[in-house]
Each structure stands twice: as C-alpha cells, then as structure tokens.
Symmetry: C2
DNA sequence: TTCAATTCCGTGCACGGTAACGGAATTATT
DNA sequence: AATAATTCCGTTACCGTGCACGGAATTGAA
C-alpha cells in the first residue's frame, strides 16, 4: 500500500525557507515568530494539508495523557462497579495511543470524600476528566476549577444544566420511565402497580429516579389512566423490613400485582418475590447488576432496563482522548444512549 | 504523574552487556543471535518486565497496519451498510495508533466478485482480515491462504465450523430465534403465527435464518405446542406479489394474526400491514435497518431484534489491531453479542 | 556610529526502536 | 597454518517532533 507520501514539518520548513524549529513554534503557537513567517507557514500548512505524526509527537514528549474518572467507589455488585469496568475495557487501543484512564473513587454518601477526590484529580493535572454529577453544588465548584485550568470534562449517567462540558453520555431518563411502563403493562387492563422506593429518596432525590418516575407516571396517565399506582418505601439495609413491607401492602391490596423500581436495587425484592410466585406478575427494574440479572434468570424479575454504564465511561474516555490527542471536539454534546431491554432470553450474552 | 521509569531496549542492552541491535534481533527473533545471548536477553526482559514503546516502533518502521474488511457492498438501507458503518466509527483512537481499516466490498450474490475481492485483499498484504462467511466453500479456500501467509482473521455475523480464526463476533443465532418467539407470544393462548420467508431461502439457505427458525420452532414447541405455524414465500423484488401473498393467506386463515421474519427484510411487509391495521397483531423482525426502524415508529412492526453489526465489525477490527500492534490474542474466540430488543419506545436513541 | 536590548530564527540533541552494513570472532576448508 | 566461510554482534543512520540553547538580525538608546 504505497500511501501518498506523508508530509512532515521538514517539508514545510523547506517550502517556506524557514527551519523546522520555526515551523514547530508556529504549530504550537508559542510565539517568537514574526507575523510574516507565521502567516507564510500557516499558508503552506493549509496548502500541503499537513497533519502531524502522532507517534513522533508522543515519542518526543514522552508524556502519557491522563484521563481521570471521578465516580463513586465500586462496591461489589453495585451500579458503579459496572461503570468502573468500562475504564479498563476497550481502552487498550487507546493505551497504545498514549492515553491512560485512572479511577478516582469516592464515597457517594460522603461529600467530603468527593471534595478530596476532586483535589487529587486537580493535583494530577489530567488531560481530561470523566465524572458523574452526584453532588450538584460541589460538582459545579469542581467543574469551574477545571474550566479555569482548561481541562475538558465529560458527564456520564446524569447531567447538570450547566454548559461547559465537552460531552455527556447517558440514558434518556424520562424516556426510560416511559419504556419501563410499556414493559410493565403488557396486558390491556392492568389493575394496579406498586412503586418501591428506597427510603433515602424522600430526602435526597437522585436525578435519575425522579425523571424515570415522571416518565412512568405520564405513560400510565396516557395509556392506563385507571390503573392504581401506589408507593412504598423501604430501607436497603433492612431485608426483613422489605419483606414485611411487601407482605403488608399486598395483603391489603390483592388486586395489585405488578412492581417497579426506578433505581438499580430491584434485587432487594427477590426474597419476597421468590416466596410469593405469581406467573402473571410483572416486575421491572433497572440496571444489569449481577444480582438483578440472576433474578431475571430465575424468573422473579420480568424485565431489566439497562444502560451500559461501562460503555458510557468508555465513550467519555474516548471523547476526551481524541480531544487531547487530536484536538477533536465531538460533533454533538449530548449522547443519549440506547436503553437495553433485558429478559431471561437475552440476558446471557450481556 | 511520575510514572515508574519505563525501561527501554537500551536498559536491556546495558544489563546484558550486549548492544541494542542484538536486543532488537531477539525481540523480533530474526536470528543471528547465539543461543547464549538469546537466553540472557530473554531473561532480562522478563526480569525487568520490558514492554516495547509502540509509538517508537511505529515511527521507526513507518508502516501503518492495514485491516481489510471483506463484506458485501453496502447498498443503501441494507444490513451490510450497517456493518460497514462500523469501519470508520470508533476506530479513531486506533487510527492514532497506526491502524487503518479498509473495506473490500463485493457482490453478495456473485461468487466471482467475492473471489476478486479476496485476491485484492491478499495483494494488499494486510495485518488482519475481517470477513463474513457468506460463501462457505470459497471462504474456506480464502482462509486457507490467509493461514499460509500467517495473516490472522476474524469472522462476524456467522461462523463456519473451522478453527483457524482469531475471534468471532456475532449474535447467538439459535437463541435469537428463541428470543424472537418469546417476544411474539406475549399472550398466553396464541392461535397461530406466520413465518414469511424470501424465496431464495428455498435454494440457498443462509446460516442465520436457518438457525433462527430452528430456535423459534423449538420455543413454540415447548411453550405453545398448539399454535399453528405456517410458512409463505415471497420475492423481495416483487412488492405487489408480497401484498397479494399476504392478502391470500390471511383471508384463508383469519385466526392467524402474528407475523415473523428471520432475515432483515421485515420492512417489505409494511405496505400490507399499514393497510390492514390490527392492534392485537404482533410483528417481529430482525436488524435495525432504517426502513425497519421506521416501521417500528409507526407501529406496523412490534419488535425488532438487533445485533449491532457495526459493533461486531468494530470489535473485530480492534481484536486484529491489538494482535498486530501488541501481539495480543483475545482470551475467548467466540464472542456472542447481546441481542437488542427494540420497540417504539427505545428505538430513537439506537 | 556604537553598543545594548529585543525579536526572531537555526542548530542539534533527545525520544525508543528498526534494520542495513560491516567487522570481529569463531568455525570450516584446503 | 593460512585462507575462506559462517556465525554473531556493534555501529550508525534514520523515523518525525519537541524543545533548549545560542546566535543572527533587527530595533532602540546613547
């Protein structure tokens, strides 16, 4: 494959009668070049269509690009563990291109640990940052600092109203509630559905669950207005409480069958569900945690809606890498990812 | 970020008392090295955990790696157009790493054009080949030649029984028929279903459709043994014929409602479906062609099962790139990809 | 006009690896 | 033992960029 000869800065130097040192100064516009020479060089660059040789550049400055990934610590079986798995995966070709992604974990329930992680990130002087905006105010403070330092950043999972980010990768949250409702209501005349929420929701509402619930309720309003919809609250750390809560509710409301949760914790209901089998009940939850997928396999959960958090992380890293390496800016800012419908028949290869 | 110092071939040269020329010869085992020196070098390499610097290597040999993608010409709106779109996308970080993927299209109905494309690929001396085994015999001949030349290759879409490939990326075909049946039979007592096949199937059975049909029939046998299942054959190039065929069948069998196709051509049925709306009818097809997705949006098709052909191509290219650049061999050979369930509620962001 | 201060630019080494070339050391041949 | 043939290995010139250093050219001040 005889490519058309790649042109180098030497070619440009020769063409302009200048030296490669000067051409280099122009390319990285770090001054010390007369206006006349500058323009002449730029002209020839455009004319010949010069493109820098990435390996040579990388080799010369011997610098690896660091992409910091600022997400909650990945406790085993948690949603953020899935996200974290996107850091290593699929990034190998990029590693070869001189990009290294490094996680900066923090405790998602402790704002102080978030602040500490942010400080560490700034200290590491990364070429880019991937983060999930869990703490709204603090996130704003941090991204402000990033902007000051000229460090680009991408959001995943959710997205604040600000505007300075390079790109966002996440599920369309409102629509996912809609989809969820459609999967729950296969039958025409659904009588009732129960929304199970974790107790924390009452105080600290997370963006994803709020939006999903909104989409869900709108769908039901449009398509099943007569359906009774109830809410119960449970404590994730109290399995017995969950069991008795469900027992209590369903003994009072035998006409209600279907169950939905808008966070990733549907697996918490498995003990009760397994103890009260009902082939006509539909149970819909979110996210492909291992425990959730197991529940899908044994039939206690009907459908999971997945969003591939690992892909979100990977794409965000890629976007930042391309920005760092080639100066590329993604054509769109907001990338709403596909919502995967998981059933027992397609969960195996997920 | 002060990394632990990267060790270079110079370090190894110093440690062994040899020169970097010798170390290089060992690394690429191109002979002219005494057994003793060879082993000494290998020992130190292991000891220090040497890893070659990819950019330096790439820069020095100034060679781009070529990955040939041997798939049918991407006619607009066809399945292979989707696959071809994976060639450019997401490969950018790899382009930076010195890998270029180039399509070698051929006519999927003309074995001669396939042979010609194969010849071109061999001539181009690629570092790897991605191909879909449409012509069984000829594919075997070609992969034999690749093996002779030591060129690794990956299959996508489908996979022959041979064993020399580096990796395979595709949908689990049999299981996809199973999934398809589950999506078709939401209701308990389904009366009948119609399988629409393209006429060519009778003579040249493609692997994917055969396997899908097998999975479908097995599911029905297990879960809905009383369901009547019929087959009709249509000619893709004769829209009127399709219309009258369906008209004819359904006037004779009003009790049958649901329709399924195992190739990517479900969109061929849209004119008839649109003219005969039925809210209780379920129509399931495969692959996210634009025409199919449009049918999903307007409600004529209920569910599509997608396999992300672009991802398959991308992953195959990546695997070959890693092999070429770093000598990595994928841990598994067979990668069965997730089957996406598409409905009108999640088709937008696909 | 002369010398100092800027501004601008060329030179040359480094980055880590590749591969051609030729020479030293070893072995084979007469 | 002398010469030829091998085997083995070191040297060296790249690949295209980045960047420090120093010097030439230009401008300013005296």
């Amino acid at each position: 494959m005889a490519q058309n000869e790649k042109i180098t800065i030497n070619d440009i130097a020769r063409r302009t009668g200048l030296s490669k040192g000067t051409v280099d100064r122009v390319l990285h516009n770090r001054g010390e070049v007369s206006r006349k020479s500058y323009e002449r060089v730029m002209e020839v660059i455009r004319e010949l269509g010069y493109e820098p040789n990435v390996y040579a550049s990388l080799l010369a400055k011997g610098k690896k690009h660091l992409v910091a990934v600022l997400i909650p610590a990945s406790e085993p079986g948690s949603f953020w563990e899935l996200a974290a798995s996107g850091i290593g995966r699929g990034v190998d070709p990029m590693t070869a291109a001189g990009v290294e992604a490094v996680p900066f974990p923090y405790d998602q329930y402790d704002i102080e640990s978030f602040r500490a992680a942010c400080a560490k990130v700034l200290e590491a002087e990364p070429s880019g940052v991937v983060l999930a905006p869990l703490f709204q105010g603090e996130t704003e403070v941090f991204t402000g600092k990033l902007a000051e330092s000229g460090i680009p950043y991408c959001f995943i999972d959710s997205r604040p109203d600000s505007n300075g980010y390079l790109a966002y990768f996440g599920m369309p949250l409102y629509k996912s509630g809609y989809l969820c409702a459609d999967q729950l209501t296969r039958e025409r005349n659904i009588r009732g559905a129960l929304i199970v929420r974790v107790r924390r929701d009452r105080y600290q509402q997370s963006d994803p669950t709020v939006n999903r619930r909104a989409g869900f309720l709108d769908y039901m309003l449009e398509n099943a207005p007569d359906c009774k919809i109830d809410n119960v609250f449970v404590d994730p750390n109290d399995p017995d409480g969950i069991y008795t809560t469900l027992d209590g509710y369903f003994s009072e409301h035998p006409e209600v069958r279907h169950i939905v949760m808008f966070n990733s914790r549907i697996h918490l209901l498995v003990p009760w569900l397994a103890a009260h089998p009902d082939p006509d009940r539909r149970v819909v939850g979110f996210d492909n945690l291992k425990a959730n997928m197991d529940a899908l396999r044994d039939g206690t959960v009907s459908v999971l809606i997945g969003q591939r958090p690992d892909e979100q992380v990977r794409l965000a890293i890629e976007a930042l890498a391309e920005h760092a390496l080639l100066g590329k800016v993604p054509p769109r800012k907001d990338h709403f990812m596909h919502m995967d419908i998981l059933t027992r028949y397609n969960v195996e290869d997920y």
